[in-house]
Symmetry: C2
Subunit: 758 residues, 2 copies
Amino acid sequence: MKIQQTIKQNHLGLLFQQGSFGIEKESQRVHADGSIVTTEHPKVFGNRSYHPYIQTDFAESQVEIITPPQHKLEDSLRWLSAIHQVVLRSIPEDEYLFPLSMPAGLPPEDQIQVAQLDNAEDVAYREHLVKSYGKNKQMVSGIHYNFQLDPELVQTLFKAQSEYQSAVQFQNDLYLKMAKNFLRYQWVLLYLLAATPTVQDNYFKQGSPLKAGQYVRSLRSSQYGYVNDPEIKVSFDSIESYVESLEHWVKTGKLIAEKEFYSNVRLRGAKKARELLNNGIQYLEFRLFDLNPFEQYGISLADAKFIHYFVLLMIWLDETVDQNGVELGKVRLAEVALENPLSPTQYAAEGEQLLNQLLAMLQEIHAPQEISEIVQQKLQQFADPALTLGGRLVQAIEKAGDYQKLGAALAQQYKANAFERFYALEAFDNMELSTQALLFDLIQKGIKTEILDEQDQFLCLQVGDHIEYVKNGNMTSKDSYISPLIMENKVVTKKVLHKAGFNVPQSLEFTSAEQAIANYGLFEGRAVVIKPKSTNYGLGITIFQQGVSNREDFAKAIEIAFREDKEVMVEDYLSGTEYRFFVLGEETLAVLLRVPANVVGDGKHSVAELVAAKNDHPLRGDGSRTPLKKIALGDIEKLQLKEQGLTVDSIPDAGRIVQLRANSNISTGGDSIDMTDEMHPSYKALAVGITKAMGAAVCGVDLIIPDLHKPAEPSLQSWGVIEANFNPMMMMHIFPYSGKSRRLTLDVIKMLFPELPN
Amino acid sequence: MKIQQTIKQNHLGLLFQQGSFGIEKESQRVHADGSIVTTEHPKVFGNRSYHPYIQTDFAESQVEIITPPQHKLEDSLRWLSAIHQVVLRSIPEDEYLFPLSMPAGLPPEDQIQVAQLDNAEDVAYREHLVKSYGKNKQMVSGIHYNFQLDPELVQTLFKAQSEYQSAVQFQNDLYLKMAKNFLRYQWVLLYLLAATPTVQDNYFKQGSPLKAGQYVRSLRSSQYGYVNDPEIKVSFDSIESYVESLEHWVKTGKLIAEKEFYSNVRLRGAKKARELLNNGIQYLEFRLFDLNPFEQYGISLADAKFIHYFVLLMIWLDETVDQNGVELGKVRLAEVALENPLSPTQYAAEGEQLLNQLLAMLQEIHAPQEISEIVQQKLQQFADPALTLGGRLVQAIEKAGDYQKLGAALAQQYKANAFERFYALEAFDNMELSTQALLFDLIQKGIKTEILDEQDQFLCLQVGDHIEYVKNGNMTSKDSYISPLIMENKVVTKKVLHKAGFNVPQSLEFTSAEQAIANYGLFEGRAVVIKPKSTNYGLGITIFQQGVSNREDFAKAIEIAFREDKEVMVEDYLSGTEYRFFVLGEETLAVLLRVPANVVGDGKHSVAELVAAKNDHPLRGDGSRTPLKKIALGDIEKLQLKEQGLTVDSIPDAGRIVQLRANSNISTGGDSIDMTDEMHPSYKALAVGITKAMGAAVCGVDLIIPDLHKPAEPSLQSWGVIEANFNPMMMMHIFPYSGKSRRLTLDVIKMLFPELPN
């Protein structure tokens, strides 16, 4: 297979570098001291039998994190980060994820709980493993790296050759070449990336084989790790011989199932190996990798990219090793595994030669410069073993004084990091906070999610065959198209609500300022709001709370409104407090009071100091990457202070509420206060009715209510609806400044997938 | 009732001028010669028993047009115009609407078909009328003018007085004042607006009472019109006496029903007069008015406004006439009715005095200047009777030589006018043509329609209790909200369609020009389309139909696309012809081919002449007020000609197709060709499937198809979907340049109201 030449001749360099990636990462849940917990897999993750992201591996304590297939490693690592943040924020407060592959603080074997799976076969398999290997070996964690070549590349390479008649056979041999060469040269990756130099004595049933103070490169990949009996040899010569030899070991009972064959490369794409004969190998799973404890999520992006190009090299090379080469590679792996991580490897020359070949390949395929730099760094590590991951880890263990202590300290640090911006999902921080909150819940509950468009906040969700789309957190198929169109237009909204019998303030619409001003007489002495017909940001609105008293003020307000729209409404002003009702389906899920930016005096601190202290609140920030906004001290706030006889340096009396804004918007530093439980149920029912009249499934209803404790009456004195909003904000309810959090994103999921268990 | 003073003191002038208006207008369907037809009420209008706009009055030939209540007379007249255009375009080709009140060419009585109504009571009532008055008198047509004061005015006036305790009683007396004073002074309106000076002899059973060449002001309001027995006197003194006296005549059998009381004022707001005691009079119906033959729709806006202020004067006046006054008014009316229209009236002094009082009122209430000018004109008509409507009509009859001839000529002219822009509804010309087409169908089928917002093309439709909203002709509750959001985003659209298994051209998306250009190698030699992610107007698109051959051209195209969007797609180019499929629900209703602007040579005319001739097509115009656009001869067209070796002055050979544009948009002069019947059904089924995958009820699907006669196969060579559009255009299907018209607006109505009969 002359892949290299075909790629060069056909300018396939870029296509060669495309592919799909998936990462599976196991970790033990541990106590603060790094010892393994004996608690159950958290119920909050739902049923692991269908969970696409969060599973258990061998033991109940062993969380397995799975990233969905991605075309860019950057995205795989974003998913890895996101799923980690979900796991770390969902497990019990006193639990952590151990960042090292070898377990520490192992409980007695009888207290290690095997994963409680639904499937009887899965349970039987694990029981067999316990018998064959003991529980401790099963507690080792690692990273599996899945890689698929771009199918268009495989197709193009097939068309460009004449040796193979069958596309499936070509594809199988292409992946087998990658697999065999990988098995031959895998020791190079082990040298560079191994991170299991030691383990506590009780890991071994018959006492540790390591001398005191002895470190190795990889216990996990050595004979002390979780490896098959050396007798079990499976042929990679051809797909046929692979299938036959593997089936032989299962038939003879040496393996309980095909999956007990622990090769560092697995051929993927079928449930049973034999199916590969017809289906073809779809991708490879590389299982060699120890957790990198210096990375929060077990692997660095640079190393992931290095592995990608390393496995590409395995098909780029002219040679394809035979079974002898495979066996040689396995022997060499076992030898390097037991070398001292701080000493050079005996095979350095071969390693350096291979990486130089890799560098040459990178040139030929016009790989990004960044990759060559990564490979150069790895090349240097053959001269200086202390720079390898294993070398660095040994030094860190020595510094920490103890393997478990190091793991515990890192575990605590990583968990704390995950809580730093607890309302966000760091990896998806370019999306809206509400979409991040929804993604958090989707990952936690195990709903298959595809991000169709990040800029547009467009998600595709799937449970079984049931597909739903979500945009901006709560725009879904459950709303009818006409309902946002109605809500976008205030005049139409009012007409529809009025028709349906809800209390709507009366209004008149005008299409010219002259016409409006000519009708001044109609409004004289009346409390009115003058507003543009369709703006949504509070622009151009004037309120005459005490009634319009002269034509000039009225004309001025009309002109201001006409700056924002071609049509202006003069609406009766309703007195009372404005509340936002968040309605979903048949229920008002949250009621919020928005209070203008303010501080409360304590008789000691100045306004500026009080503002600074209030701005320290973890929810306050720039308002786009945080649920609440810091209070500014600009001209508008200073003017507001002046009206109260204050400056920023004044020290308000204890208990005095100092207003810093007249408007209650969260975006100008306002407070959000949950009032769901305080609100009289009659208003909640009205909000549901208004939502129905709008034809909406999700709606933000703004009601003016003078007394939230009194039941609603059928007059504008009791309540009035001033606006209905589609795609209503959720973050202010999920993370209010005070009062109870309402996790609305969970309700959106329930609405979309009523078939899911609660 | 001192209304005048209260209005002045409380600045209620503007409120006084607000109100609701409704116009009912009868007309006879006639032959081209003006004689009455004996055909049935057209079936296309559906069941008249619920039709809100188009009914029959006494006879099957007598169409009654009813405008829905409006707050502005301008809007009432727009509805009157719209309903007329619908009627005139829906009746048989050889039928017309007679523009005069008195019938002409009356068939023998036994051929006059009484309206075929469902309701047995209605049928019995008409049979009674035939017996009591004969059929001929029932064939007279007129206009009924309904007026309601603003309820807020009535409420405010009630609050401002102390005489009445009961709001209902106050309201009744207020309307009774208007009614009584109207009956006293109605002769003024008759003098000015009467238009029934003559009739053919066969109208009278015992021969005409008119001498040869004699004209009167109003036969319709005279003893020869459709009036009650003079014996029947109903008291307007109080609501109680009104109810009792009316019930008395019914009880004694002098009237078959309350509605047989033909007062020129009817008290409205209840089915039975007695209910008015509790409910109150809601509005008044003024039945005095003859059709104005000089107006296409029977009444001018100026006259409608004059009547409005005239009836306002009836409550503005300090006096309220008593029953004697009412009877005096009736006598005076009968006298004026029989005066010679070209002679002054004997009561001119009283008329002038009343109009001067009206002018004074207009000053006091700050009525628009326009109204005073109208009243001034009417005032002049007391000095010069030839200027009255009756005066003008007599002169016109004399000129035409014959009453029937005049009516026939006008009827033909008005029908021709209604067809001038047959694709539009003139009165609603500020709305989109598709909304005008929908309104046409709604009026024709008798679906109650409210225009919620003209600018926004927002309609509210109602059949029974079933309410539906429509925006822009086909945006409705039947689409889910997520579907337009999907279609708005081309990347998401493709992902969704690809997932659902439809043939979608492959594409890659880029967020920077550098990144795209760096991937040039992936596209070298490939036929591709480079386009911005979300533009909809063809901006920024470059097509490499023969494959990209150099990096520079590719880079240029990428840069052009990035001017339009932050994200750019490079998509495989599909060869074939693009067709637009209009899908509604389970069916592809129309398939359209759009052909770039072109003319076909005849070997005689120059390109410029051919273009001018093609632009004469009735559907071509500016493209916003017409279904098709005129072909321009600008720089782009000239360049296109140059490429074909032509100029605007060239004379192309007979049969040669001359391209004037490269793009096929209708908006640049392209032709729309209906291909619905030619298209292989397999593609129509695909378009339905694509619509379903989008979650849409109405969708415009653009397919590229090399051969529309071959059945679809599952490869991109056979077909590919390049776009799915929400709110797809309908006019190009309804009024194609060639091929069959597809009346999609009717299908939208069927979709919204499946309960309607076909």
